[in-house]
Symmetry: C2
Subunit: 218 residues, 2 copies
């Protein structure tokens, strides 16, 4: 009966991981929550609270060993293991993901790409062949694929999601602008770019409104 870790904590872990990776590159061996908090612009309290959800990685009077904390967070996130990934939709976005080398470093192995466009099928991107969508189920089973990135139009996404789930995929990285309904033993992580751009737009606009408002006031 482990206590449930809050979503807010999880979403901060990759950022800690990134900063720790940079510290390792800089040759830093140990760091206190206070020093890290200043670099990351968060409170030291939050860092300690977050990390203590998973156990005591630090040492009183010393701080945290950077390299140790780095590997521990990797374990927590599950990126110490290998994960088989496929990309469905071999357009620009799919190819952008395929080309992103760092994913492999984090244990994500892109096993295959799929598309319905006959002109793309057979092409090889970064050593990965683009296959026809009809091979999907067989490929997932044969390669024990756990994660599928969906870089396809929203009209196609629900049907494809159902197919990959039935074939055994447990995680869907969804770039389509639609909310997918999935069973309890499957997770969806959405990347809704248009929503992200709208949020940016709101903040840009409210900033400008505020400034022009202040001018009027003075």
């Amino acid at each position: 009966m482990e206590k449930q870790i809050s979503k807010a904590v999880i979403s901060r872990l990759p950022r800690y991981y990134r900063y720790l990776g940079e510290l390792i590159e800089d040759g830093v061996e140990r760091i206190s929550s206070n020093e890290l908090s200043q670099r990351m612009h968060v409170t030291a309290s939050q860092i300690r609270q977050d990390l203590n959800n998973f156990g005591g990685f630090g040492q009183q009077g010393y701080g945290y060993n950077v390299r140790h904390l780095y590997t521990e967070i990797a374990k927590i996130l599950g990126i110490d293991r290998q994960h088989s990934v496929i990309i469905i939709g071999a357009g620009n976005l799919g190819q952008a993901i395929a080309n992103y080398a760092n994913f492999e470093k984090r244990g994500f192995v892109i096993k295959g790409m799929f598309d319905i466009n006959p002109r793309l099928i057979g092409l090889v991107v970064r050593g990965i062949e683009i296959r026809g969508i009809e091979e999907l189920e067989t490929f997932i089973k044969e390669n024990n694929v756990q994660i599928a990135a969906l870089t396809i139009p929203k009209t196609k996404a629900p049907e494809i999601a159902e197919r990959v789930i039935r074939a055994g995929v447990k995680g869907i990285w969804n770039f389509a602008h639609v909310d997918l309904a999935v069973p309890d033993d499957v997770v969806v992580e959405n990347v809704h770019l248009s929503e992200s751009l709208m949020r940016l737009c709101y903040r840009v606009c409210s900033l400008q409104d505020r400034e022009s408002g202040e001018e009027k006031d003075s």
Copy 2:
């Protein structure tokens, strides 16, 4: 002295907007917070609270007029106006964004693309010419560019961010895996894909751990 709208509320608005757009397509004229809450899997209370941050868009006993609410949210988000956007980095990710037609529908006009790769310069993507990075400042000023998408490596991002900000850009859509430091009158919206994938990984892994744990228990 307007009350500050919380970030959580803002981040939900684009999703409301998406659902309302779909309701319009389906020809739905009015909707109650209760009905919408069921479709969106949120509480009706939250919908009403969120919307009331911006004013009373509904009517007791009736609900909300879908089309009216849709246009009101567009106004709040600022997507009723036009915004000039440039994309810096014309690789797959930059091209994926340039090719995404829906952005234009929301008032985002992609004015230009930039890259340092001489083989890309001069190419035309979706009617947009790829220019050399040396034209950046002049182009931003001449076209009154407000938003810049950074689809470039993290090593280049801070320097480019500084340049676009100095030239007058007010919003940065940052796809580089680095945190940008910007002045108070500039906003950054981060899209850190690798962090998103790690979050997915965590959830896939913890799901599997839980299941194998349960097996042991029984």
